[in-house]
């Protein structure tokens, strides 16, 4: 999550769900928390019971809205305008927490004079290269900085991208803890604070109302409630989920909330923070120990073919001069020791030269495009159902049909595994089973009850679960599959003299196994991740113990200490009512260093005293000479609040005693992100790829840096705004989940008790839209885009309101849950077949929360009629164009 990573230093939720009970106001936006995180939502209910305001801002009135004290409906895809309006309101009326902003954020920092804001360049920041379609970020940096870090590697072809750049390690080119130029009074015209003021000056309540479709009154009430519940005595929290992420501006939306929370002084304090709600049991875990192509465990960048020809340049480029990223080399070397043991030595550069390199964008959607173009031979899919769960399912299925081989590991034979004989394209005749050459292997997976392991949940909490029963028949755990796959590959290559096989031969691959199926010991893996001192085998207590000389090994530096003292810390289950405080540090284990609320140094004022008694959390104990409180201090324990780094201090020692954001090179939260994001240092309202509107602010309508599949026949886009043909697809459509099902449905449509609760695909429409389009409650509707058409039962409801936009225009929204596919106990069309594959430039995520569609009564055409129907509408729109 680079939105949080660049703002605060770590790409994870800043708080934990139990702490929401301490909030005086909770804004839930881009999330339907009651439906999708019902267990965590109990803490929101607890806060409400204690008198907190709970505000839900969402296009739909959902189960979350029903529990809120206030719901504000907005147009899908207008979040940055709404949040930017809050920033404007705070700045315009001096409602910010001045002391916090001055000391704990980069508001005073003066920015390079070459920086040009979108307000002065009609929607583009300085550095835009129209040819390349990207920014040169040099003019964005702090004034007086040499070009440093990742940016300095550009001569060697390196570009920090997405999650890889998300930690902000290079700190805007900071060489020493303090930026060279700043104005503590926040008055310099080029200081971040003043730039921020100018950037959002046009985000007035009226502009928000016109853009979002809410009332000025409702918008102001949100601003006032937030401001009234922030400050020394009170705190407010934000909760978001993929309703913010899944846009072509997703990362910047999260950034806008980060700005609001910095201005209000709500980060690092109890009842405050930004709660990033993750959509699956271990999605946080799968970025920490990544399933992503461009990072290694602990957010270490994956080497690139064009960059880092030598180990020194790789280390130099990724080591921040200050902050905890200053110890990059020790994290890296310890990871190599965990991978390769005695084979990785200082003499052979820890095998750096042998490591695989990435050479291109290898994200999921880019790979689908490569499949369609015939450039991918084989594909392994585990725990994912792209034929249903990814945007433009049809493009995915057509892509799979061009592979030589496909491996699918899942609990049941999901749509992705069956596309070749049972899918919409087989029905329409666009694919013929006998002509598909893809050899499909379906490997049954073991469920979580059938294996040991850990989940890393939404709040960075690692929780261990134990196997209850042996997996049946051929079902096997992921751990079993990859361990034995690796073992067999190593066996086959044992005698190889090929240079390319050096690394596989060097790989340490020794894990004890047990039971008749030779299941690897999951705890042995956790031990490796947590790390040891190699000479003694002693378990490490945490990442400060990691060394860059090869004397320690650690599989993921941020997880270091999860097996401290030889105890599986993640398996601790002491309930909070048996512990000293609600923070409950003895329940499982959270990264980093078992901290539950991170950046918690900010819960005290610059002198180390709590901002207020009511919001006491972590403070400086002058008598003891150390930080103390309810949580593990997220600060060097004995660093006094008045500590000033000596000249030449490095890494963590270069962070001053009053700078709580210890992962950032300057120890501060970033209102302005000089480096680390593809699409600008400040969030700006852009329209979605598809929407019925022009940008009210700029001629630049959508995010200029978004990724599109121009020229890809399988991924056409609807005409938008006032383009001719846009009237063919006049409605805003948004997709979402229901409590009763899990994402693409592979785990729930096959379970009778869940399938019966939401047994059919439906669309949600307002009575006015039903009248306009001739839809009947309980009847059928056909919903179409230029990609495809699907059918759904019609649920007419007041919960999806039409919005009154500028000039009296009404916009209708169509709600589509996306759980169904052609297989399982309950079946239905897939909402994602309608979506396009234009992406956010930072994390390559699809925009399924806001695009456009048409809707008409009745069931969709069958067989070959379906693609014809879609093509005819597309032509109709195209002709109009």
């Amino acid at each position: 999550m680079p939105g949080l990573g660049t703002s605060f230093g770590r790409g994870g939720a800043t708080t934990f769900q139990q702490d929401l009970q301490n909030a005086d106001c909770i804004v839930i936006m881009g999330s339907n928390m009651a439906e999708n995180h019902p267990v965590g939502f109990q803490w929101v209910m607890e806060a409400r019971e204690r008198g907190a305001k709970v505000i839900h801002v969402d296009p739909r009135f959902t189960r979350t809205s029903a529990m809120a004290t206030k719901h504000v409906g907005i147009r899908a895809g207008s979040d940055i305008a709404f949040l930017g309006g809050i920033v404007h309101h705070i700045l315009e009326h001096d409602l910010y927490f001045r002391e916090y902003v001055q000391h704990y954020t980069n508001a005073p920092v003066i920015i390079d004079e070459r920086f040009v804001d979108t307000e002065d360049a009609d929607g583009l920041f300085s550095g835009w290269d129209p040819e390349a379609g990207r920014y040169d970020i040099e003019s964005w940096r702090y004034e007086g900085m040499e070009v440093h870090g990742a940016a300095g590697q550009r001569g060697e072809g390196f570009e920090p991208r997405g999650e890889q750049s998300g930690h902000g390690a290079a700190g805007g080119g900071l060489r020493h803890g303090e930026p060279p130029a700043e104005d503590p009074e926040l008055e310099h015209p080029r200081c971040v604070f003043q730039i921020l003021k100018r950037h959002y000056r046009r985000y007035t309540p009226e502009l928000v109302a016109d853009t979002c479709g809410c009332s000025v009154e409702d918008f102001l009430e949100v601003c006032e409630t937030l401001a009234a519940n922030s400050g020394r005595e009170r705190t407010s929290a934000f909760c978001y989920a993929v309703g913010w992420t899944q846009h072509t501006t997703g990362v910047q939306t999260i950034r806008t909330a980060a700005i609001v929370q910095q201005l209000l002084g709500n980060i690092g304090r109890p009842g405050g923070g930004i709660m990033a709600l993750r959509g699956h049991a271990s999605i946080q875990g799968s970025t920490d120990i990544p399933t992503l192509y461009n990072i290694l465990p602990g957010y270490l960048p994956m080497p690139h073919t064009l960059s880092y020809p030598r180990l020194e340049s790789y280390i130099a480029a990724n080591t921040a001069p200050t902050g905890w990223w200053g110890k990059f080399e020790s994290y890296w070397v310890s990871l190599m020791k965990a991978y390769f043991g005695e084979h990785a030595t200082a003499e052979n550069d820890w095998l750096f030269d042998e490591l695989p390199r990435i050479d291109s964008d290898n994200s999921a959607y880019f790979t689908v495009r490569q499949m369609l173009e015939g450039n991918v031979r084989g594909y392994i899919i585990a725990g994912e159902n792209p034929a249903v769960g990814h945007a433009n399912g049809k493009a995915h299925r057509l892509g799979l049909a061009k592979l030589e081989w496909l491996v699918v590991r899942d609990l049941v034979e999901i749509e992705t595994a069956a596309f070749w004989y049972d899918g919409p394209e087989v029905e329409s005749g666009e694919l013929k089973t006998e002509e598909i050459a893809t050899e499909v292997f379906f490997l049954p997976a073991a469920a979580h009850t059938e294996k040991d392991g850990s989940f890393t949940n939404t709040q960075r909490l690692l929780q261990w679960h134990s196997q209850a029963v042996e997996p049946k028949e051929d079902c096997r755990s992921e751990l079993w599959f990859y361990f034995h796959l690796g073992r067999l590959i190593k066996q086959k290559l044992a005698g190889s003299e090929e240079e390319r096989d050096t690394l596989i031969k060097a790989l340490r691959w020794e894990y004890p196994t047990r039971s008749a199926i030779e299941e690897p010991d999951a705890e042995a893996v956790l031990q490796e991740i947590s790390g040891r001192e190699i000479s003694t085998g002693r378990f490490l207590s945490g990442y400060p113990e990691l060394e860059d000389d090869g004397s320690t090994s650690c599989g993921c530096w941020i997880y270091s200490g999860c097996f401290a003292d030889g105890i599986n810390q993640t398996a601790r289950r002491k309930p909070h009512w048996e512990q000293a405080s609600y923070v409950a540090p003895e329940w499982a284990w959270a990264w980093p260093a078992n901290r539950r609320l991170i950046y918690n140094r900010a819960s005290a004022d610059p002198d180390g005293n709590p901002w207020s008694e009511r919001k006491r959390y972590v403070w400086w104990d002058a008598d003891e000479g150390k930080w103390t409180g309810h949580d593990v201090p997220d600060f060097k324990e004995d660093k006094a609040p008045d500590y000033v780094p000596p000249e030449g201090a490095k890494a963590e020692d270069a962070i001053a005693g009053d700078h709580p954001f210890v992962m950032q090179a300057d120890g501060r939260a970033w209102l302005y992100v000089a480096q680390g994001l593809e699409d600008g240092p400040l969030p700006t309202h852009y329209e979605p790829q598809e929407s019925p509107f022009a940008n009210p602010l700029y001629r630049q309508r959508a995010n200029p840096r978004r990724q599109q599949n121009e020229g890809l026949a399988e991924d056409p886009y609807n005409p938008v705004a006032d383009e001719p043909g846009a009237e063919v697809y006049p409605y805003v459509v948004t997709t979402y989940r229901l409590t009763e099902h899990h994402t693409a449905g592979g785990m729930t449509r096959s379970v009778p008790y869940l399938a019966e609760l939401q047994p059919e695909m439906f669309c949600e429409v307002h009575p006015d839209l039903a009248r306009e389009a001739g839809l009947e409650h309980g009847g059928w509707a056909t919903i179409y885009t230029s990609r495809s058409a699907i059918e759904a039962r019609v649920l007419v409801t007041e919960r999806i309101r039409p919005l009154q936009m500028k000039d009296g225009r009404t916009v209708h929204q169509v709600g589509l849950p996306y759980h169904w596919g052609g297989r399982g106990l309950v079946t239905g069309d897939s909402a994602n077949d309608l979506a396009h594959m234009a992406l956010d430039p930072n994390v390559h995520i699809q925009e399924v929360k806001a695009f456009t569609c048409g809707i008409r009564p009745g069931r969709r055409p069958r067989g070959a009629e379906l693609p014809r129907f879609v093509a005819e509408l597309r032509e109709q729109a195209g002709e109009a164009k």
Binding site: A34, E35, P38, V39, Y753, L795
Partner: protein, 311 residues
């Protein structure tokens, strides 16, 4: 307070009467109770029909659904009493816009909207008509004061079905299918919530209460639950939730109070519940008396007729 019929017969084995207090003001409609109930009690799937009744595809309690979450969409504000606008000077940014109007707690653009959710269950009545009419003794009052069907005794006569004022009791009908597990085979017997009798005996709370993430379903000794409910209602009233009411809490109502009672945010009818339920066997004694009188009169008439012929 009237004691549940039959509970005293347990003598020393009698336990404290337990039940549910279902507080709909914190129900988030997640249906975890429905699923946990089915999972623990091995209840068969109840049909995969989409109803269009908001998010409710279960529709009603029945032999195969012992917890049912109702969803009611209303054009009503969440809390009926609007919060008064603040008295003090206009907030920053308000100067040229006038004072804020009364806060609309829920729903924008002026039209209020609320979505009520309520997890319904067998009421475990103090005076339970189902018990009165069961000819086999399959239905019985447990030592916890709850009402349970003994499946090995029930003969499927169905007398209890119309006796229940809430439509809770229902005979299990399943399409015959050879591959169904034994518990799911067509049987025609009556099945309903047991308040997890087996779990109670083991010292555990019922599955639905255990699964509920927001404590909307609270389990415990009925006396304590009634006290908690009174306090809860008082709190909601001070917070402006007009229309909030306890349903089935009153031991003097038509069924002597529920063992599983509710806090509702609107009238019971809104949730599909009878407003003033009465134990359906209440009038039986009087009916029997009337019938006896009528039969006696008939007998006298018949006798008179015969005697008349003779004369």
């Amino acid at each position: 307070m009237s004691a549940p019929d039959g509970l005293a017969s347990y003598g020393d084995e009698q336990q404290e009467r337990v039940g549910f207090f279902t507080d709909t003001s914190v129900c988030i409609g997640c249906k975890a109770c429905e699923v946990a109930c089915k999972d623990w009690n091995a209840i068969p799937e109840d049909g995969t029909t989409w109803t269009g009744e908001s998010y409710d595809n279960t529709s009603a309690l029945g032999a195969n659904t012992w917890r049912h979450v109702a969803f009611v969409e209303q054009a009503e504000p969440l809390r009926s009493r609007l919060e008064a606008p603040p008295d003090e000077a206009p907030a920053p940014g308000r100067e040229d816009r006038g004072a804020p109007s009364a806060t609309r707690p829920n729903g924008d653009s002026g039209t209020p909207l609320r979505w009520l959710m309520e997890s319904d269950v067998c009421k475990h009545c103090t005076h339970a008509a189902c018990l009165d009419v069961c000819p086999t003794g399959a239905l019985f009052r447990t030592e916890f004061g709850t009402v349970v069907v003994q499946q090995d005794v029930c003969n499927g006569c169905g007398y209890c079905v119309p006796a229940c004022p809430f439509g809770v009791l229902d005979r299990r009908h399943l399409a015959p299918a050879p591959d169904l597990p034994a518990f799911a085979k067509e049987d025609g017997r009556v099945w309903k919530c047991t308040l997890c009798y087996d779990r109670l005996k083991g010292g555990h709370e019922p599955a639905c209460a255990k699964a509920c993430p927001t404590q909307s379903i609270q389990f415990g000794p009925l006396d304590e639950l009634r006290e908690q409910a009174d306090a809860r209602l008082a709190k909601l009233e001070t917070e402006g939730w007009e229309g909030a009411q306890l349903y089935g809490r009153d031991p003097d109502d038509g069924v002597g109070g529920f063992g599983a009672f509710f806090l509702l945010l609107d009238e019971p009818e809104v949730y599909g519940l009878p407003p003033d339920p009465v134990v359906t066997t209440r009038d039986l004694p009087r009916m029997w008396t009337n019938m006896a009188v009528a039969a006696g009169a008939l007998l006298v008439g018949v006798a008179a007729a015969f005697s008349g012929r003779r004369s």
